[in-house]
Symmetry: C2
Subunit: 232 residues, 2 copies
């Protein structure tokens, strides 16, 4: 939606869908209903077009589908995971108070989705000395290159707006490469060489008022089910 320069030639739409396939294939692998899936079956499960999926898969390079058969679910998931550089237990740093962090885990069972919260940094002085998930909570000021030494390259930020820019600055300095921002405040100056994705709530809520009004005045109630989540 904003700047985006880099070497990656994959369209952001395709990248995001690959992440989506990875999620769905993980579910299917756990369900253990079958070993093989065709692009059309996966497409149907996700409300997409089979051609879109096959085209997206071309981006991950050497592909492992069998003509006439389909894709091995475990194999395809593995291939996509590799392409995304996604480890089995993907470690992430969480920045925000422990109350907020615990709340997020309430509506986002982060570990069920394959992520491991592996470092905590809080703006709340009361969080000093607290342990969560086997980690001692550190103050935001303590964000340092020591985190990346542990293999963490991705962070999630859900601080109060007043701490947003400071947190982003420290994370960038520490060598964190990607940040998912939940805090609803303007990112005034993004550091170079880092990828920041901010999940919007404000514009989404405003759009929903439009749809609510449309649905109220429509005698023909329309199903407008939408999954909003956009990639880069």
């Amino acid at each position: 939606m904003q700047e985006s320069s880099g070497s990656s030639s994959i369209p952001t739409e395709s990248l995001h869908r690959l992440a989506l396939y990875h999620c769905k294939l993980t579910d299917m692998l756990l369900a253990r209903h079958k070993d093989v899936i065709t692009s059309e079956e996966l497409a149907k499960a996700l409300g997409l077009n089979g051609a879109t999926i096959r085209r997206d898969l071309m981006f991950i390079g050497g592909t492992y589908g069998k003509r006439g058969t389909g894709y091995n679910i475990g194999m395809l998931r593995h291939m996509i995971g590799d392409f995304l550089s996604l480890p089995s237990f993907a470690p992430i740093a969480i920045v925000g108070s422990t109350t907020v962090a615990r709340s997020i885990f309430e509506f986002f069972p982060i570990e069920k989705f394959g992520f491991t919260p592996a470092a905590f940094f809080s703006e709340d002085p009361r969080d000093q000395g607290v342990w969560i998930n086997g980690c001692e909570v550190q103050p935001i000021e303590a964000i340092s290159p020591a985190i990346t030494a542990t293999g963490i390259r991705v962070a999630m930020v859900a601080t109060h707006p007043t701490w947003l820019m400071h947190s982003i600055g420290l994370l960038a300095q520490a060598g964190i490469k990607s940040i998912l921002v939940l805090t609803q405040a303007e990112i005034t100056k993004a550091p170079e060489g880092i990828c920041i994705m901010q999940l919007g709530i404000t514009c989404e809520l405003k759009s929903l008022f439009y749809y609510a009004s449309q649905l109220e005045h429509n005698n023909q109630p329309s199903v407008v089910k939408v999954i909003a989540d956009k990639p880069l």
Copy 2:
């Protein structure tokens, strides 16, 4: 990203941008730097193209720009707000425990953005009798048409995954027209005549691992600042 049928002819991209303009114009109105803005100025402030903005504004019908001058900020904001059916203090219902609700308010200063949490429904028995924001917290089971009688048409859901579908069902029955879902779980069956928008975190985080890896291996560190927020 999924189904989307309805009478609205406006592209979801444009609708979302209109909400974005509304946010930016609100900021500008509060800043009080000036009264008038051109499409090019607004475009620059948002990293967009002026033509895109002017084209989007055609959707709100009779437009109020002055050729040679630009748009009156307050007037344009008002027009967009009307188009979105967005009241000055837009009331929303919050579904989730009070701890989670308070945490969300921590990283999303909801009232600063023009919304008013006007009803609370919690899955946590300990929340019975609690008051928050001048509202007595109700159990989720208490979700009933009484909410819509108060003028609430939009809800935000951030329950534990186990409560998601039940909450959506009750909200739909109660006459709520739009729901913003923060809970990271599959929406298995969306009721008819309702608009559900789910903010994704999982696919976003997975994409971020890809970008992190790209940035690590790129000697030419690329700025990949992105604001991810997608409309219907």
